[in-house]
């Protein structure tokens, strides 16, 4: 029993220390930003949920919607003066079938990258460079917008219910399972001519950076774009 308590203090410490961090990665290729290039920003893929005492998570439509709006606005503000120009496109708006497929493909590549390059085998210390691409078809995303890059953002978060907070306190004392909520924001910049992900970053929210309110979203996006190359 004692040894599990010890284990859990360590685990909790690790989880807590993970708050408010970012992990930037650039591709294996030499990256030179194209001058005055327009960046196409897709509204982020967001899913926020409540973590209940039982351990089930329940999606909250209102939080997800406001999280998506807030992150979109923060991205607009943050990038307004940095790149050659931005175009924001609603990921659900009518697009060509090819574009819809490319957005889907990008989501899949992002999830894979997140799993393998960030969470998985390729731990940060092992390898800071990687190579991921959605292929040269990416240019179809630009359509006639003239965009040279596309920024794709994926956000996931869960928030502990009151019952969960109480349960965690009791569980931590017993050395049982403790689950915290948390928010992650993952971004990838795609070169639309090659389809390569030329830059990506995973930002984990600090306790005061809640994407459900505009101020928190600003903070989160600032840390997400800390090393943004454009």
């Amino acid at each position: 029993m004692r040894q599990y308590l010890f284990f859990f203090v360590i685990a909790a410490a690790l989880l807590l220390s993970a708050c408010g961090t970012t992990q930037t990665k650039v591709t294996t290729n030499e990256f030179v930003a194209k001058p005055d290039a327009i960046t196409l920003i897709y509204t982020p893929n967001v899913e926020l949920s409540v973590l209940m005492a039982t351990g089930l998570t329940e999606t909250r439509a209102d939080w997800s919607t406001s999280g998506q709006e807030n992150i979109t606005n923060s991205l607009k503000t943050a990038l307004a003066n940095r790149s050659g120009g931005i175009i924001v496109r609603d990921r659900n708006e009518t697009q060509t079938a090819r574009q819809v497929q490319l957005v889907k493909l990008t989501d899949a590549v992002l999830q894979t990258s997140l799993q393998y390059d960030y969470y998985g085998r390729g731990l940060p210390t092992q390898k800071d460079q990687y190579s991921r691409s959605i292929g040269p078809g990416a240019i179809n995303l630009a359509g006639d917008s003239g965009a040279k890059y596309s920024l794709m953002v994926l956000a996931r978060g869960s928030y502990q219910s009151g019952g969960k907070v109480a349960m965690n306190i009791a569980m931590a004392a017993l050395g049982g399972p403790v689950q915290f909520g948390g928010q992650n924001l993952y971004a990838a910049l795609i070169d639309l001519e090659t389809g390569d992900i030329v830059w990506s970053n995973l930002a984990t929210a600090a306790p005061d950076a809640d994407m459900r309110d505009p101020g928190g979203a600003d903070k989160l996006v600032q840390s997400l774009l800390k090393d943004f190359p454009l």
């Binding site: 351990g55 089930l56 009791a170």
Partner: protein, 389 residues
């Protein structure tokens, strides 16, 4: 008395079916809105996936039958996706997304049978069964907290607690027996109200049982009595009894919509039968294809694919059975060009060079765009040379 009660129930339900139309939840902070949000995202992903058949004619057909049973107002709120997949299945998500699998369309004898299944799925949606299920999962899973504490007290590793959670949530997030019966009744009522023949709902399950009893796989044959594609649904025997009781109490319409159904499915018949063969359940394939022929689909097409099933099954005597089916198919209506290639292969292996040559030539003449055109031309050249010598 019971009969009287049942018909009163039907009358009541028929009367209230117009209240079935479902709307998007307004309060976005509820669990229901969360379910819709999640399903909307899933739908977005499904929409342009390669799995959806977007042929406007087939979609219009399935939508027309659905709207006939649900009524136009409710139907306008549904999005229907036809999925290319050789299994008997349909589903309805809590946000109004209906998915209909090609295997269900292939196995329905007529509009009425398809309507029974789609009406059943629609019943789950109309009665918000997913939401009920989720709420049940949430409340029932409270006991998992107790188990987790028990595990912690017992000094089990923390991972055990997480496993308890995951298993627990899977156990309870399902339709239960009562919801299934309710959905069956709604499916029956909607179908009957649209003037379809009342016996057809029970026939859906009778056909499925027969198909499974003819399976090559022992496990599936054993499941014959109680096989159900939804795995949580009631035993087909019970549901047949219930549906037959409903039908007996109802003065039935005579419409089945058989000809319309066959006309709508026939353009896909070859494709879908080919897909069925991939499951390698050849005995059940042979049974199904023979059934399709009996139901009025082009016999030449059905016979050719029965022959294909024999060829792939490779039991003692199957080669001869396959050839017999192909030769029979040749004399029937609707035979596909592939039969000539199949026979040509057979003749070539039997060293019947002239027959092989003639069949290859007929194949290419009937199917000039064939994918294997180059290969066939090479065979023709070789056979020509051999015959000249």
């Amino acid at each position: 008395m019971i009969k009287y009660l049942v018909s009163t129930l039907i009358a009541l339900t028929l009367f209230t079916t117009s209240a079935y139309a479902q709307s998007r939840p307004e309060d976005q902070s509820t669990d229901e809105a969360g379910l819709w949000y999640k399903m909307d995202k899933y739908e977005q992903a499904l929409k342009n996936s390669g799995a959806v058949i977007d042929d406007p004619e087939l979609n219009a057909y399935v939508r027309r039958v659905t709207c006939d049973i649900t009524g136009q107002e409710a139907c306008d709120k549904l999005r229907i996706y036809i999925i290319q997949e050789p299994i008997f299945n349909a589903s309805m998500a809590p946000n109004g997304m209906m998915t209909v699998y090609s295997g269900l369309l292939l196995r329905s004898e007529n509009e009425a049978q398809m309507a029974c299944v789609l009406g059943h799925e629609y019943g789950h949606f109309a009665e918000k069964h997913s939401l009920e299920g989720w709420r049940r999962a949430k409340s029932t899973s409270q006991w998992m907290i107790g188990l987790q504490f028990a595990a912690a007290f017992a000094g089990l590793p923390p991972e055990m607690g997480q496993v308890i959670n995951q298993v627990g949530s899977l156990l309870f997030y399902r339709y239960n027996r009562g919801q299934e019966t309710e959905a069956d009744t709604i499916g029956f009522n909607l179908t009957a109200k649209a003037d379809y023949h009342a016996d057809e709902c029970a026939n859906v399950w009778k056909n499925l049982i027969s198909e499974n009893e003819n399976s090559s796989f022992k496990s599936k044959r054993r499941r014959g009595k109680w096989f159900n594609p939804y795995s949580t649904h009631p035993l087909p025997k019970d549901r047949i009894n219930e549906l037959e009781a409903l039908a007996a109490s109802y003065s039935s319409g005579q419409k089945t919509g058989r000809d319309n159904h066959i006309a709508a499915i026939t353009p896909y018949l070859e494709n879908w039968m080919k897909a069925e063969l991939l499951a390698r359940d050849f005995d059940s394939n042979i049974y199904l294809f023979e059934q399709l022929k009996a139901r009025g689909f082009p016999p030449g097409m059905a016979d050719y694919y029965v022959g294909e099933a024999y060829r792939l099954r490779k039991e003692e005597g199957d080669r001869a059975r396959a050839v017999a089916m192909w030769e029979k198919a040749m004399t029937q209506e609707g035979v596909p060009a592939s039969v000539h290639r199949a026979l040509a292969e057979h003749y070539r292996k039997k060293d019947r060079k002239a027959d092989a040559l003639a069949s290859y030539q007929t194949y290419l003449a009937q199917s000039p765009q064939a994918e294997d055109r180059e290969l066939i031309l090479a065979y023709i050249n070789r056979l020509n040379k051999q015959l000249a010598n």
